[in-house]
């Protein structure tokens, strides 16, 4: 197990470097950071002076080298716009995105698992098709469009839920539903497929032969086996939700990593963008590692293998 994890960490490091190079080049090739810093209505003379003072006219390789050298020593540098270090900036914004992604995942599971199980038990009936329909609609809707409609309906027309901001739990309900419903179909299909396969297996027939109530047969015996791949997928979905929250956070005015990334990209705050991309890459590697570990732990054949 150790060798396996070690290899993954090396891979992660190399991936992190690759990601940072791509991001760095992308942003520098893009618009002009000096102009972005000077802002609208600033004169060319001002822009040139800022370019000088921020050392933006040095060759890209030198600037990347400097960033990388400091990053390796754990210093992700400072935001060019915010009066804070990148690390601090990300840490203050992370809880919002984590809770959004977390609640999104919970909602995805709450939609996907029951629907998946019911669809599997009532295979190829109208129940199966409607369940699949409900889930697939989630994936077909543009999430910002769905978010705006929800604001319109629940926020404005009915006034049940707060519309923007991230102060209380209620603020996360609509964004989480928008985010969660999008990942529900993938989870649902996997659950359904898994359950269909497991329900036909011999040990389920044995469970019935033991006179166990249907609830126990389905939830204890069947689901316990069908859930293994779903757990692995959940961690990958959690990763997607982290990076996919850009649009949701813009619509619901949540001050999370997603919105920070969008803001940093649009004004070329490259240290922040670098920091976030590294964070997402790190999350991805950690989450896939978690998925493997979960797989091993959940499936005794691998755990004791």
């Amino acid at each position: 197990m150790l060798r396996f994890t070690l290899r993954r960490l090396v891979l992660a490091a190399v991936v992190g470097i690759a990601v940072s190079v791509i991001a760095f080049m992308l942003l520098r090739v893009s618009g002009d950071l000096a102009i972005a810093l000077a802002g609208e209505d600033a004169s060319p003379a001002d822009v040139e002076r800022i370019r000088q003072e921020y050392g933006l006219n040095r060759p890209i390789i030198a600037q990347y080298g400097e960033w990388l050298w400091r990053a390796l020593r754990g210093d992700l540098g400072r935001s060019l716009f915010y009066p804070e270090s990148v690390a601090n900036l990300i840490l203050t914004r992370l809880p919002v995105t984590l809770s959004l992604a977390g609640m999104g995942l919970v909602i995805a599971i709450l939609i996907a698992l029951p629907l998946g199980i019911i669809a599997a038990l009532r295979r190829n009936t109208w129940v199966d098709r409607t369940a699949l329909g409900i889930a697939v609609i989630g994936q077909a809707m543009p999430n910002f469009w769905f978010g705006l409609l929800m604001i319109f309906l629940f926020g404005l027309a009915l006034g049940w839920l707060p519309i923007s901001g991230s102060d209380s739990f209620a603020h996360f309900i609509m964004p989480a539903i928008t985010l969660g419903w999008f990942s529900a179909p993938v989870l649902m299909r996997l659950t359904r497929g898994g359950m269909v396969e497991v329900m036909n297996s011999d040990y389920i027939r044995t469970a019935h032969a033991k006179g166990l109530p249907a609830r126990v047969v389905v939830l204890k015996h069947a689901l316990r086996n069908a859930i293994v791949p779903v757990v692995a997928l959940c961690s990958v979905q959690f990763g997607n939700m982290l990076s996919g929250s850009v649009v949701i956070e813009t619509v619901f005015a949540l001050q999370g990593i997603g919105y920070l990334a969008w803001e940093a990209i649009s004004r070329r705050d490259f240290p922040v963008v670098q920091g976030i991309l590294l964070l997402v890459a790190l999350f991805y590697v950690v989450l896939t590692l978690l998925a493997d570990i979960a797989n091993a732990w959940l499936d005794p054949r691998i755990r004791r293998g």
Partner: protein, 309 residues
């Protein structure tokens, strides 16, 4: 099914032979396709949208680009009969352009983006996947590294960065999405190729001395088509949704080109008080993406029920 029983010795068999209906395999497969309503409906909807897109000039009542500023935001009849205008069946957008025509022309852009993106990502993903699956070894590790790097780059963020750089245009959006959505192709093709490679008939072809390209094209690729089509349908849906998200953030296709994603973004301004403007393109995207997904599901069930991706 069992063949008919051969005449055995002893008593005369004329009146004792047993009925032996044995339907050919083809009829059974077509049954599975027709039997699946989802697939049929999806194919119909997709066909309709494609026809609408191809014959847009004939079908659309007005020129989607002509704007009459005084005819702004006229609601369609089903929303507000009084204020509606018979010339504009689905009303007009915030620049006074006929909304139905823009939806029809918009189909073109969305389908185009979907198809071209899938073409680009399909080619990249399949070549990498098949190469990794077939050759294995170092090629496989390199491709796996590429996949992991791609997967750790968040799609939306990278799309934003690139499009913010190169400015949103159809070519840029397609290229960006194409370069970002190839990972699932690679993963699926890699595992499918690996399975195929170990099958006897591939080994047989190699032993007969076929050249590697002939094996790849002749033996492996044809068998990958079903899985390829299924992945293609998901990624096409994904591309259309991503284009809409990019347009929402102001970086998608450039106006006045009518893409559904852009129309949703433009309708955002007036959403609170003219909600129908944002509903129509949003629904259009929903229907198209739903049809594509269901088509993908249908094909997967019909061709390789066990090959669930």
């Amino acid at each position: 099914m069992l063949g008919s029983i051969p005449g055995s010795g002893g008593a005369d068999m004329s009146d004792i032979t047993l009925p032996q209906p044995a339907p050919p395999a083809i009829r059974r497969k077509r049954g599975r396709i027709l039997g699946n309503p989802g697939l049929v409906v999806a194919a119909l909807v997709l066909g309709l949208i494609t026809l609408m897109a191809v014959f847009a000039p004939l079908v659309a009542p007005h020129d989607p680009y002509v704007q009459i500023l005084d005819d702004r935001l006229i609601p369609p009849a089903f929303v507000d009969a009084e204020m509606s205008d018979p010339r504009y069946l689905l009303g007009t957008d915030n620049l006074g352009r006929d909304y139905l025509s823009r939806l029809i022309y918009g189909a073109r852009i969305s389908l185009l983006i979907g198809l071209l993106t899938v073409l680009v990502s399909g080619v990249i993903g399949t070549t990498l996947g098949v190469a990794a699956g077939y050759f294995g070894g170092r090629v496989d590790t390199v491709v796996s590294f590429l996949i992991t790097t791609r997967l750790s780059l968040p799609v939306v963020m990278v799309a934003l960065a690139v499009v913010a750089v190169a400015g949103g245009s159809l070519q840029v959006v397609v290229l960006v999405l194409g370069l970002l959505l190839w990972d699932r192709f690679a993963v699926v093709m890699r595992s499918a190729t690996m399975q195929l490679r170990n099958l006897e008939y591939v080994a047989a072809a190699r032993s007969v001395g076929c050249s590697t390209p002939r094996i790849l094209l002749g033996e492996i690729l044809p068998n990958l088509i079903p899985a390829l089509v299924v992945v293609a349908s998901y990624e096409m849906a994904q591309a259309i949704l991503l284009e809409a998200a990019l347009s929402f953030l102001g970086l998608g296709v450039q106006p006045p080109l009518p893409s559904w994603g852009l129309m949703v973004a433009e309708a955002k301004e007036v959403m609170l008080f003219d909600p129908w403007v944002i509903l129509l393109p949003g629904l259009a995207i929903c229907v198209l993406v739903l049809a594509i997904n269901m088509l993908g599901d249908g094909i997967r069930d019909a061709t390789a029920p066990e090959g669930r991706t």
